[in-house]
Point group: D3
Chain length 219, copies 6
């Protein structure tokens, strides 16, 4: 079998890719598959609009096709799951999206999910996706930090804001589990969980975990 | 105000565009806006896969931006509503998709909607979109002709197959209104309705009608 | 074809009818159909209870039948859509209700709809109707002005209260589009939209727009 | 307290009222309240269309108001629950509808409910009501006998057709409990249950049972 | 027929059983069936966790089987409906759960239900049950007193807290009917309703009322 | 960290446990955690009724508590997910159920899920669980083999019947992915997938895969 699970960051930020790569370390095993995190050079610095989502689908698909020969599977590491279903048409390998994998994993950690979004305009996009997945009844709320992907590298500000938003999701919306709504938030998981007192799903880890099992099982 | 509603056929087939153009004739008025049907040369001959849908979003968006100065509004005339939400970000003019406009109009003609799809693989894509629109409870069924966009020009075969599928949607799934699931089916509306005995929505007409009202109302 | 779309105000207030009539001006075209707004003399001054809704159905239906010979279509211009489905049984012309047409149009302008109701007791009635339409997943909230139909003519008070309610729908309930929940609010659309910063649907305009297209298309 | 629960048959058929009256015998107790079954003389012979439903609401409401002084509560004994919510506005006594009471009781006897309707055109009306009640997820199917209210008195034909429809609801739609969709079917409950092998809810009995408890409890 | 409806309190608190017994007095009639309230000695003092719910199912079922010979029917008088569906497998007599009976009855008193829970950790359990019953669309909110079953006997504190929670369900969540989420709250119904200004369902009364009707009807 | 993921078969059949153990081989890695499959001696030979499900919860919970000191996590390997939520109360280690893990994984392989159940009476239990999980909109159908847990060891008969049921789920219900509804079916996955032409989820593998990722990630 092919030996590498490719986790593709569809934005062009190597900082985000590096953060993802660190976050996936605990999932690496000698038996493999290897996990390779790659940056989509053609992507925008951050995927923050529907235009960004739609625009990145075509280059992402080309990258997936270029990697197909050596790929054991793929994770699309952007919380808008760009190109996810087209990628599934293009390969018979497992393809997971991180919104999907993050939300599905959250369903095993709580009854009502709160999403920590980056921007207000992300929210209708998330709502459409949650509806497409048939998960409306499990969504407690979706609240935005008001920070773009690039802003997430400013750790103190980001964490403070994440805690505020996480508490609002818990106290006002009744969430009992949180999902971080951007691959660029990976480094804040443990601190957010401790501060808010709820389990927090890092969606790249969640999706990669599901993909690895699928690769190893061969289906 | 701008004087033209642009109805963009995102596939590259002038035959389909011509069929749409004829179908919209009854909606043309002296007061305007004018209705111009245009073909997206960069599109595929037919939009039949998620890859086609995703791939056409970027050129469609460029076309919308190029037309923005003279546009009163836009209709995206493909039943997968490619690029619809990105287009709404790109312009403050009304933008309607034909899946959306077709389904919403069908809700005023019956309680349970049946979709006449082109291909089996269209169905999960439709289901995701219906879920994103929050309309699951109004969908009776979605059945495919097994004919690609190009095949729809073969009138006797297409109509015969549409009637079979329409009857299955009525009798087996309980649909009391049908929506034609491709812009290339426009010419068959009246015959299908008569043969099946149910109201049938031609989605380009439906979406254009909603867009014209919005243009005239100025919101 | 018949030349007139009848927009029937089922309450007996000519002021409301006059407001509707003005609101529909932008939809009038030389080609027609003409748009005639009529007041149902047998209706109550305002339709504010389920009793009012149920009671007005029979006289409304008689009026529709009396107008049938000259009608191209009908709009029932009360946000409770009284008699809508009975009217559809009574004529093969298009019949639209303004709650239905208003909500469906709102679905093309935002992901989550907020309804600006007149009275608290309207809200369970709206909820039942939204459920009957299968649109629960798109409803963000429904909040009341605490003003009866007659009170709506007091412009400063009404507008101030609409803005308060609109902001609560946006900020507390997460609505990204508003629908005005009474035909008597037609004159406040633009100001409300500007003050709240969201698109606002005037439901008589929305329903009439959908009805006009149906009339012109002949289905 | 008032001593009588009024069960109002909104159609004008004394035969139907007599059948209801017999069906309620087991619920009568010395302590009361008494159960009086009354026929609404102003009603149509059968309530078979939305027009019938809407038209009967006003006279039904007048009857309820006339009986208010001596009533302990009311049951509206037509499966379309005409005027139910207006009646609740008109009295602080318990008011139950038989569609509502029948479906809610069915939810305690099975997971997925099948409705035995009289006519095909009843079905969209039922679907709207089921949606308004928020019970879509528990509805397995709704199938019609093709018999009007008056036809139900022909016992052999009716029962034979009810068994056919009941079996289709069980075998094709997966229903594990049936609700009889007309007050005029009361006499067939036991035979239908035995023939199909599923529990069957007689909705007048179900609604009257819920109403009696409410009367005795005083809330 | 058997003469006794057994209302089984699955916690071991005779105080709770005594409160239930008083609450059911208005439902007793000479014709019967008799209503006997019994305490499950093997139960925990209060059922406050999923472990309590699961653990009580087996002894509850044994008790139901022991009573089967003399039982006309059963009510499981704990708001988590422990063992409800297993009990239905074990007897052909009517078996009602109080969460189920309470919620279904609430649906006839308002459009959106608020649940007054005992503890925060009850809420995800309730949400799962509401989803299993297909009633998500009717749930306005679920808020906890922060009091265990044993604490409910402290009347002033309990009532004060119930009123606070009831008001939050009404004002913040939009509930128009409340259900008390524990059999131990039976004595507070009238005061809570008066203080909050909403109908309040006592779920043991509601379920017993439905069970009595079923027993008398013989189905 | 603890080194062992315990996969507990709550029925007492070592044959089923052995089949599970083999199925999990591809998920074993040197880095661990180890995967130990254990049989619950106190369980019934097969879990085929709600009584079986409820009855096994208490001994299962005791076993989980006994293993807590050495456990990295748990999988409850029965498709009714007995005791799942109580187990989550009892330990802060990851606990996955196979119905939950199987269905969630299926959502990444198709849009509409078909469940291959063992017995007809399993179906309402499944429906309740699917509703509790909020996944109704993704369920295409649930059909039973008519074979008990013990019967599944008869390979030719079982596989033949699985293929029949799988085809009905695909062709009549529109499923595009299947989930095997019993841990005892593990050995038939590949053959069923090949014969029906749909992806098939083996739920113990799916849940164990999700649990392993959670263990390795430490959340």
């Amino acid at each position: 079998m092919n030996r590498t699970l490719f986790v593709i960051n569809p934005n062009s930020s190597p900082t985000v890719t590096a953060g993802i790569d660190r976050a996936l370390d605990p999932l690496r095993t000698a038996e493999g598959p290897a996990i390779a995190c790659v940056t989509l050079a053609e992507g925008p610095p951050g995927i923050e609009s529907q235009r960004d989502v739609d625009g990145v689908a075509a280059p992402l698909l080309r990258r997936i096709e270029a990697l197909r020969g050596e790929a054991a599977g793929f994770v699309v590491a952007c919380f808008s799951d760009p190109g996810l279903h087209a990628a599934r048409e293009a390969t018979d390998r497992p393809v997971l999206g991180i919104m999907e994998g993050g939300l599905l994993t959250a369903l095993t950690l709580g009854q009502r999910v709160g999403i920590v979004a980056i921007l207000d305009r992300s929210i209708p996009r998330h709502r459409r996706a949650v509806g497409a997945m048939g998960l409306n009844d499990r969504l407690a709320g979706d609240r935005a930090l008001g920070l773009g992907v690039g802003d997430l590298a400013d750790a103190p500000r980001t964490l403070a804001r994440m805690v505020e938003v996480g508490r609002a999701l818990k106290e006002r919306d009744g969430a009992d589990v949180l999902v971080m709504g951007c691959a660029g938030m990976a480094g804040y998981r443990a601190e957010l969980a401790a501060a808010v007192g709820l389990p927090v799903v890092e969606p790249v880890q969640a999706a990669a975990g599901m993909a690895l099992a699928r690769v190893r099982l061969g289906w």
